[in-house]
């Protein structure tokens, strides 16, 4: 046999290929003795002959640069077109002339009839990439690999060699000889959806005649998530038959989408499906909100098989924290609170064959909108600052820290349920206490204090410097209180107010997502928040939020001056 006619006719008739161009069918190197003959015959089912006889299609046999044109109607009857004049070798190229009105016959084949002639070698691409005459059908081949994987060749919808695995292909048109395409005839191919009744590990597929970019094979899992995608390589040469084979893999594949490039005619053949690690089907609930219970159940992919579970394991997506199940490891279900995204794996044996599979599990953050850090604010009384300040810096200060929030058992939780995040720590509330101490130097800023008495009776300018009056010592107190934040809620742009607000703005999301094995340090989180909130607060000394400006402090105080005479 030279070629299967179905796909060849489709391509020859498919736009936008150029009419009149030649579509290569086959090349045969023949050796014959004098008088030997070569004939071409188009062989089909009885139902095909009517359309074949009405076709205007033409096939060309090219020998020694000479073309012999044979109509399809002639070919149906069989046409001897070459006789050996001597003992020799010849090369015969067969072409289909494109753009003709061609029938679409699923089962017709081009057959070369030889008399006193034998084949040296040949190139018959329309018979498949391995140039064999037959393509295995679904039930023809199957096997269990040493690794416990099962492979099936699938050529059409229906049951496969693997018990429990059936295939649905939509749309589907049987091209014969194990190949299929999207429609009965002609024109650009449409997207084909392939569904598997059970998840498969990988799919290997060969595409026929991809001309343009955009022919893709996309694998999806049961939940619709993308598993893998591959692009077939086109040759950019309509009329030149090429093949490309690609594999999508990743496990859990339940749907395959075969998308054709725009205005391209393609067909498919040799779909090989591996039912491998998915001898076990692992189904997990979720996604869940952090700290909710997730449950994963393992079952044999083939319901008729027997699963024996030997181990369960969890690995977090971030930081790669690992948890091995330690109790009831043979259970087919693993449940427990989940606080981190990750992957759950189960291992065991299916009908005695070792098998492993895994499934992704994920958590969504809890809604902590409006959740605020606990606060602690102190104003020392009396002030801890000296009564005789030597600089402005001794008139007030603020201490800021993020400490461990009280009632630790209420917010610091450790999971102890034997589940995927067993012995993981997570936060049930904000675990940081925003602590501030704002001290205004009321030892100095007081009526009749030494500092008070040290100031000018009235505001005075000396050598161009304006010095404050004693009365301003008292007027300065509320300015200083607003700057340091003796009442943080009253002075939101004070040092303490900014610090507390900054802690509130970041503590919720960060404590919400803090989770991991018990043994990780949580003080780094508090320290980081403290550092950045304090930096925000201290930046106020250099920006416009609530600094003491030349407007709010229109004069300078006199300070105690150190004598260095005896210093």
């Amino acid at each position: 046999m030279l070629a299967a006619s179905g796909p060849a006719f489709q391509i020859a008739a498919a736009p936008p290929d150029t009419a009149g161009a030649l579509l290569f069918l086959a090349r045969m190197r023949l050796t014959g003795i004098e008088g030997g003959t070569v004939a071409l015959r188009l062989e089909g089912l009885a139902s095909d002959y009517a359309s074949l006889n009405q076709s205007s299609g033409v096939v060309i046999a090219r020998i020694d640069s000479g073309d012999i044109r044979i109509s399809l109607r002639e070919a149906v009857a069989g046409v001897p077109f070459y006789r050996f004049s001597s003992n020799k070798q010849v090369v015969v190229d067969y072409y289909l002339v494109r753009g003709q009105q061609l029938p679409h016959t699923q089962h017709a084949q081009w057959v070369q009839d030889l008399a006193s002639v034998s084949i040296v070698n040949g190139d018959r691409p329309w018979l498949g990439i391995d140039q064999t005459a037959s393509i295995q059908t679904a039930s023809a081949t199957s096997g269990m690999s040493p690794a416990g994987t099962s492979t099936c060749d699938v050529s059409g919808p229906g049951p496969t060699c693997y018990s429990g695995l059936s295939v649905n292909i939509q749309p589907y048109y049987d091209n014969g000889n194990g190949s299929f395409e999207s429609g009965a005839c002609c024109g650009p191919s449409q997207t084909i959806d392939v569904g598997f009744s059970i998840p498969v590990e990988s799919v290997t597929l060969t595409i026929g005649d991809p001309d343009y970019a955009g022919n893709t094979m996309t694998a999806y899992a049961q939940d619709g998530s993308l598993v893998d995608q591959e692009s077939f390589i086109g040759d950019n040469s309509p009329g030149s038959l090429t093949f490309d084979t690609k594999t999508v893999a990743g496990g859990g594949i339940t749907t395959l989408q075969l998308t054709a490039a725009p205005n391209d005619y393609v067909y498919y053949l040799r779909m090989e499906v591996v039912v491998g690690s998915n001898l076990i089907t692992l189904t997990c609930t979720g996604p869940v909100t952090r700290a909710e219970v997730i449950s994963c159940t393992a079952a044999p992919t083939n319901p008729a098989s027997t699963l024996t579970v030997s181990n369960w394991s969890f690995t977090s997506s971030a930081s790669s924290f690992r948890v091995d199940r330690t109790a009831n490891v043979g259970s087919h279900t693993w449940s427990g609170m989940l606080v981190l995204d990750g992957s759950i794996a189960v291992s065991g044996a299916v009908d005695g064959q070792p098998a492993t599979t895994s499934a992704a599990v994920s958590v969504a953050p809890r809604d902590w909108t409006g959740k605020l850090a606990p606060k602690d604010h102190t104003v020392p009384s009396p002030s801890l600052l000296p009564a005789e300040p030597d600089s402005f810096a001794r008139l007030g200060w603020t201490h800021m820290s993020v400490e461990v929030a009280p009632n630790i058992t209420a917010w610091d939780k450790v999971i102890s349920d034997g589940g995927p995040n067993d012995q993981f720590e997570y936060m049930a509330d904000i675990g940081g206490l925003a602590k501030t101490t704002s001290d205004v130097n009321t030892n100095a800023l007081a009526l009749g204090s030494e500092f008070y008495n040290f100031q000018e009776k009235k505001q005075k300018t000396i050598s161009g410097v304006t010095y404050c009056a004693q009365a301003f010592v008292i007027q300065f107190i509320p300015l200083d209180q607003a700057h340091e934040g003796t009442a943080p809620d009253l002075y939101p742009n004070s040092h303490s107010g900014i610090f507390r607000r900054h802690v509130d703005s970041v503590a919720g999301p960060r404590f919400e997502r803090f989770a991991g094995p018990f043994g990780l340090a949580g003080d780094t989180l508090r320290e980081a928040i403290q550092q950045e909130a304090a930096a925000d607060s201290k930046a106020m000394d250099h920006d416009s939020r609530n600094n003491l400006t030349s407007v709010t402090v229109p004069c300078q105080f006199h300070y105690t001056i150190t004598s260095y005479i005896n210093g």
Binding site: S319, D324, F392, A521, D541, H558, I561
Partner: protein
């Protein structure tokens, strides 16, 4: 403008103070000589002690002398001594503080007070309260706004950070006084993960344990939070973890699933553990 006007105030006064000529009529000056004398009183006034920080040379000498008898002073005077000492960063005071902190014959209050001042020497932006040192439950070392200590005439040594963290380790591990041990441990834990390079760790405190397949367990018996960098596969990949304070009796352990290859654990660029071979056996059916 904003706060710059305030800085001008301070600067102008420091300059005028140095010149000794621009003080207003009736300006108050600090007589360092007088303060030095008065500091020898059996109980100097709080104000006199606080004022010593303004005398950059003689004040430091007087403060050092006061630290030798700090434990005999009333609590208000001790607080003033801590305030003035923190306010004048001078290596002579620093040496005195180290001696007081190390002196196991002194009461814990005086020694913790010395540690409080040493902490501000270690990081001038930080302030630890005596309450936190005495009962460090859930406490943190605060960050201070609006605080600018003065610099004494004897400059602090550049080795101070390393010396301070080493002293904390010695006190936390070996001091006979449980209050001092606890206070030192609290400070050590506060700074360990921000200064891992200078934080002493007991030998063998960090270990790496190979498990089946990709499993590796990091274990710490260190008494502080330890930031650990794992260099995997000849440093082709690095991952960082921070393990909580632990002990030999109750180690902190975290099991990981890591790519293949040898692993080197470092803390502050120091190699603390290695795992050159990872061929631990797997149990039957164990997921590698």
């Amino acid at each position: 403008m904003r706060n710059e006007s305030i800085k001008y105030i301070v600067c102008a006064l420091v300059i005028s103070g140095g010149a000794g000529s621009s003080a207003p009529v009736g300006a108050q000056t600090t007589d360092c000589g007088h303060l030095a004398v008065s500091s020898h009183a059996s109980v100097p006034t709080v104000g006199d002690i606080q004022s010593l920080s303004r005398c950059r040379d003689s004040g430091a000498v007087a403060l050092v002398a006061l630290w030798t008898r700090a434990s005999t002073l009333p609590s208000a005077q001790q607080a003033a001594l801590r305030y003035a000492s923190a306010d004048l960063r001078d290596s002579r005071i620093y040496d005195a503080l180290r001696n007081v902190a190390n002196d196991a014959t002194l009461p814990a209050t005086a020694r913790l007070g010395a540690l409080q001042v040493l902490t501000s020497y270690f990081d001038a932006t930080r302030k630890v309260s005596m309450r936190a040192l005495a009962n460090p439950v859930g406490e943190a070392v605060a960050i201070v706004a609006d605080y600018n200590p003065q610099v004494g005439t004897a400059v602090l040594p550049v080795t101070l950070p390393r010396e301070y963290l080493a002293q904390l380790a010695d006190l936390a591990w070996e001091d006979p006084d449980p209050q001092v041990r606890r206070g030192a441990l609290f400070l050590r834990q506060q700074f360990s993960f921000r200064h891992p390079a200078d934080t002493p760790l007991p030998a063998g405190a960090i270990s790496l344990i190979a498990g089946c397949g990709s499993r590796v367990t990091i274990q710490s018996t260190a008494d502080v939070t330890v930031p650990i960098d794992l260099h995997i596969g000849n440093a082709a990949e690095m991952r960082s973890y921070a393990l909580a304070p632990a002990s030999a009796a109750s180690p902190a352990r975290v099991m990981l699933s890591l790519p293949p290859g040898p692993i080197v654990a470092t803390v502050g660029s120091r190699t603390v553990a290695t795992l050159p071979i990872r061929n631990a056996p797997c149990h039957p059916g164990q997921i590698p």
